[in-house]
Amino acid sequence: MAAAETVTAKKYAAPYYVRRFAKVLNEMWRDRVLYLWLAPFLLSFLVFIVLPVFLSALLSVTAFDGFSFPRFVGLHNFIVLFTQDLVFYQYALPNTFWFALIVGPGGYALNFFIALLISRVAKRAQDYYTLAYYGTSLAGGVALSVVWQAVFNGDRGGYLNSFLLRLGVIETPQLWLEDVRYLLPVMMIVTLMTGFGVGFLAMLAGIVSVNRELYEAGKIDGIRSPLQEVYYITIPSMKPQMLFSAVMAIVGTLKAGAIGAQLTGSIITPQYAGHLILNHIDDYAFLRYELGYASAVAVVLLLIMYFAMRFAYRLFAPKEGDE
């Protein structure tokens, strides 16, 4: 029997890749229960995450007003974006650069620094400190909007104005949210204050779980200062958590772009002072209905995020010999 089967198989053997493909399909059918379990997640993943990204890329090469069918325009949107969009060049790009630099790597370093300090105190105190730092991010944008409005109110009744007037730092009330000089820094500070989120918790957990024996071994190997300890032991032992929170920091920085609109109450901040790429997308999408162009900006933003993530992976990828 077995011999006969091999003979026929040889005789009618399809090319290798066809057989291989048939085998894969066969095995997938055998595993159909597994795919069934995955189906709810995969379906919603495809429809609400993968498909939107693809559609974004498609729309970015069209002119589309939301009503008539999209018209193909090739790379026109991108060419306009990179050569003629003054608001993008003068405001969105530099603002985003500074905002992302301070809030992204800056906030990331701040999160790590605080997590490191918290890890040094006794376990019970750790819980209280964690709550104090994480709590503000827990509250979320809507709940805190009343706070920021009261703090940065432009007349002398605003908390910041009232406080600084009493200290004599300023002589007249400052329009914190309308003044071109202040808006972007205010946005950065607010974002940093509310930025101790999931990534922060991951870092803290990572630092706390570093094997204590490594520090002992390090002492014997001649590590002198706490700074050396952090650089040579703590960070290398928690690279995976560092990477996770780096990814969270990238997403967080992007989402934080909405803070300007939340503080001032409009997508277009006064004189574009707090205009970020994310606001630029909203501007073209929801105010001007140039959806094709808005999608092109979105694609550029997605690419920037993608490369930021690649960079983070390169920075924290396990090297040969780790684990």
């Binding site: 709810p40 993943f45 939107p52 559609l55 105190v121 709590g135 709940a143």
Partner: protein, 291 residues
């Protein structure tokens, strides 16, 4: 650690620094609590006060009995939020735990590919693709239905990732023993896997709760029927009113009190959940690493 009861100077300095910056960071929260209970005359006060002197529930009363411009009572927004958050929370946890279970404990074709997609989409932010998402949601006929609140949130790569990382720590032998005893896959999942990863489930519940409870985008973009909107959305409209475009100073101040009360109502459930599960959260995050 236990040997050194006395504080070393270095540790004392750390405490001082953490306590002062921690207090500073917690100021907005403390302020929120105080502001929400201030009577109208204290909201007016100049110079502004930080702490409430004569606490009152008046702001909450105003919030509860104030009808929105579309005559929708407060309780409706509240009910919508509770129902939506409960439904989304349950479904996201179920769907994500099922996916994570399969991805963690079985070998099959496409597994590597699916994992790669999940890793890539950890950085997914719905904000960047608002336009196509809008087209998809209206194309599926979901606008003005409660499903618009549920379906877009179902796929949560971060939750699947966290659960899978935690499930990877569960030894395969435990599950194999049950399989040999003839337990069906559903029983292995619900009786063995889910209880073992309870900390990660709790953490995922907090993260999902936070995202859904505070979300305003669905109400703002996909739902036009005022009676189907959420508490977070309602509070955010109060916020715009309190910024005071076209309103008088009096309305503005009263609006602030209501806004603070609403903000507090949004925040407190988050806080309670975190306090309950804080230990689990840290335990879960230990396994959050990307290798």
């Amino acid at each position: 650690m236990k040997a050194g009861r006395r504080l070393r100077p270095g540790i004392a300095a750390i405490h001082l620094f953490l306590a002062s910056t921690g207090l500073f960071l917690a100021l907005p929260i403390v302020y929120l609590f105080n502001h929400a209970f201030k009577p109208l005359n204290e909201l007016y006060l100049y110079p502004p006060t930080f702490f409430v002197r004569q606490p009152t529930l008046r702001n909450f009363e105003m919030l509860f009995f104030n009808l929105s411009t579309n005559l929708v009572p407060f309780s409706r927004y509240f009910f919508n939020s509770v129902a939506i958050t409960a439904a989304v929370g349950f479904l996201v946890l179920l769907v994500s735990a099922m996916a994570a279970f399969i991805l963690s404990k079985f070998r099959f074709h496409l597994k590597g590919f699916i994992m790669a997609m999940i890793m890539l989409s950890l950085m997914f932010a719905a904000e960047t693709v608002g336009i196509p998402r809008y087209l998809i949601i209206s194309g599926l006929g979901l606008t003005d239905t409660y499903l618009a609140y549920v379906l877009p949130f179902l796929a949560s790569p971060v939750i699947v990732f966290l659960l899978k990382q935690f499930m990877d720590q569960v030894p395969a032998e435990l599950l194999e023993a049950a399989v040999i005893d003839g337990a069906p896959i559903t029983a292995v999942f619900s009786r063995i896997m889910v209880p073992l990863v309870a900390p990660a489930i709790a953490t995922s519940a907090i993260l999902t709760f936070q995202a859904v409870w505070g979300d305003v985008s669905v109400s703002a973009l996909y739902v036009h029927d005022e009676s189907m909107k959420t508490l977070a959305y309602y509070v955010s409209t109060l916020s715009l009113a309190a910024i005071g475009q076209g309103t008088s100073a009096v309305q503005n101040i009263a609006g602030q009190g209501m806004l603070a009360a609403g903000g507090l109502l949004l925040f407190v459930p988050n806080l309670i959940m975190f306090l309950f599960f804080q230990r689990y959260v840290i335990e879960t995050m230990v396994n959050s690493g990307i290798k």
